[in-house]
């Protein structure tokens, strides 16, 4: 019963945060967009009579739904064969393939229409990622594989980080700089993938497989995947107070309008309270795990800030954080990171759409989801013909190409790899 109440509180907070941006989307959308268009018309940057394109902006590149659909098939194929790189590829589509990047850049650094299109690209990425987080965390919640205190501590850091960073950077970062930072993230992923394909990486993998084989018998003897998480120690009250305070900071920042210092103080207070939660202990499969509450909180701040800034989910950062730093088994990492990605994305989408009035083109997201679905049907049928190592090598080359291109384009103003 007590556990149910905790979940009801958590879900209420999450649903509240999900529902509000959706409810508020239209007025903010109409006001901000029309104001920005009016300003651009007044400055002679766009022709009012030109054919409306992306977001209905006169003269903007027309949104090619078929191209979006085809690109999303590629994204879906990657999702269903190699995994995480799909989110990056969705971002590449939004920036380059659909021609939105060059269009926004034409307005010059700091121009409102440039900022609006940049933020819209980010939010479009976040919608795709947020939906995936919603689905996975629901599934893992049903399976009883969520470590609620860990998710809450990560979310305490994440909620603050994911509103503070959009707050500090939205409208202040031009698409050019955004592309550069996005490039750094892609290159970092490329380097991680590359390490896995080297002789050293392969040898490590072989060793791990041998170790797995050694424990096979015991798995057959004693494998019981029904044993769930049992929390032994942890201050629930303090955890919920801290979470409530950071959620309040996000709400204040987005809805109050004035006195932003209150939101900053609330976020800092929430983070400060986490230090009083102390150590959390839980068992899973009769094995005890423990962690200091402030460790995931600090990790959450850093990861959500980065993820929100780049418009990606951060799942690719939560998973290594939870396995390497927190040393958790995979089943717990999966569900918990899904929950944190969801909370982080909700707050970030909320911050952009409600706080900043950033619009998205719904139909386009629909075409992309359809494409991802088609791609996910093709992936499993083709992956058996391509060995894993070659798939990884393919994405290493892609990650290096995309990363170098975006970094040089973003920070130098030109690409050192073709097309220049």
């Amino acid at each position: 019963m007590k556990e149910n109440i905790k979940w009801i509180v958590c879900l209420t907070v999450i649903i509240g945060l999900v529902a509000l941006p959706l409810l508020m989307e239209t007025p903010a959308f109409a006001d901000k967009l029309s104001d920005t268009i009016q300003q651009a018309v007044g400055d002679g940057k766009i022709d009012k009579k030109a054919e409306p394109g992306f977001l209905g902006i006169p003269g903007a590149p027309g949104v090619n739904y078929i191209l979006g659909f085809l690109w999303a098939i590629w994204v879906g194929w990657i999702f269903s064969t190699v995994g995480a790189f799909g989110g990056i590829m969705a971002g590449v589509g939004h920036i380059t393939i659909f021609g939105l990047g060059d269009y926004a850049k034409d307005f010059g650094k700091g121009y409102p229409l440039n900022k609006l299109v940049t933020d819209s690209i980010r939010v479009s990425n976040q919608w795709l990622v947020g939906l995936s987080g919603l689905i996975s965390s629901t599934n893992y919640y049903r399976m009883g594989r969520l470590v609620a205190p860990l998710g809450i501590c990560l979310a305490i850091g994440g909620v603050g980080g994911s509103w503070l960073i959009p707050d500090l950077t939205a409208g202040k970062i031009s698409l050019k700089a955004y592309i550069g930072y996005f490039g750094i993230a892609v290159l970092a992923l490329g380097i991680i993938l590359f390490r896995e394909t080297t002789a050293g990486g392969q040898a490590k993998r072989k060793k791990a497989k041998e170790a797995a084989a050694a424990f096979e018998k015991q798995a057959k003897d004693g494998g019981d995947t029904k044993k769930g998480v049992k929390v032994l120690e942890g201050s629930w009250v303090m955890m919920f107070v801290a979470l409530g305070v950071v959620v309040a900071s996000a709400l204040w920042a987005n809805l109050a309008g004035g006195a932003r210092w209150v939101a900053y103080i609330l976020a800092l207070a929430g983070w400060g309270l986490t230090f009083f939660i102390g150590t959390i202990r839980f068992t899973f499969f009769d094995v005890e795990f423990k962690f200091k509450a402030f460790v995931p909180m600090l990790g959450g701040i850093f990861i959500a800030a980065l993820a929100s800034f780049l418009g990606v989910g951060g799942g690719f950062l939560y998973v290594p954080f939870l396995t390497s730093v927190a040393g958790l088994p995979m089943f717990l990492v999966a569900g918990t990171s899904g929950l944190v990605v969801l909370v982080g994305m909700i707050v970030s989408i909320f911050s952009y759409m409600v706080g900043k009035g950033v619009p998205v083109q719904w139909g386009f997201i629909g075409a992309e989801l359809l494409g991802i679905f088609v791609g996910s049907m093709i992936g499993p049928r083709t992956s058996k013909y391509i060995p894993d190592i070659w798939l990884k090598r393919l994405f290493v080359v892609l990650a290096f190409y995309v990363g170098i291109r975006y970094i040089t384009k973003g920070f130098l103003g030109f690409s050192i790899v073709p097309p220049f």
Partner: protein, 174 residues
């Protein structure tokens, strides 16, 4: 007119028709939006069923691989072999990554109609504000199309799910 434009026009005519059935525009709005939510639910359910059916073998295989590595990593941990635990856990993570993203991609099968419906509503109703019977904090006395559509979709989805389970259980009983 291109094929795409023709298709869009056809879809638009199809979706707007229920909105015009009742004489009263408010009633028409509610009916049309409810039918739109119903279409989104049905279409999503159909494509999701196709995705699961088509990928069943692959999903089972990757899920088993994931569970197997997980069991072994826990055994290693119980045996006090931290090094082996970490190494096997990494393999389990990799297997999980594959399953996770495959399922995410497949889940888009159920949600694409929602985004498309919102896209259609954005084109049709983005400049219209709908009066609310009460004044809500933050929102005020009016709301946008998403305010009506999203809760209606969730409601339709829940009711549809209950009906589906009821029909399936009856069918299985026989």
């Amino acid at each position: 007119m291109g094929f795409f434009a023709w298709l869009m026009e056809l879809v638009d005519a199809f979706l707007i028709t229920p909105y015009r059935w009742p004489q009263d525009p408010v009633l028409g709005w509610w009916l049309g939006t409810f039918i739109l939510a119903l279409w989104s639910t049905i279409l999503g359910e159909i494509t999701l069923a196709i995705a699961f059916r088509a990928n069943r073998f692959h999903v089972t295989k990757t899920t088993n691989e994931m569970a197997e590595y997980h069991d072994r990593s826990m055994n290693a941990l119980k045996a006090g072999n931290k090094g082996a635990y970490k190494a096997i856990n990494k393999l389990a993570n990799e297997a999980f990554g594959k399953t996770f993203f495959l399922q995410i991609a497949m889940a888009s099968a159920s949600l694409w109609p929602v985004a498309c419906a919102l896209g259609w509503m954005q084109a049709r109703f983005s400049n219209i504000r709908f009066p609310l019977p009460f004044n809500l904090p933050v929102l005020g006395e009016t709301a946008g199309y998403a305010f009506i559509f999203i809760p209606l979709y969730i409601l339709t989805r829940i009711v549809f799910g209950k009906f589906k389970r009821m029909i399936i259980s009856k069918f299985v009983d026989r």
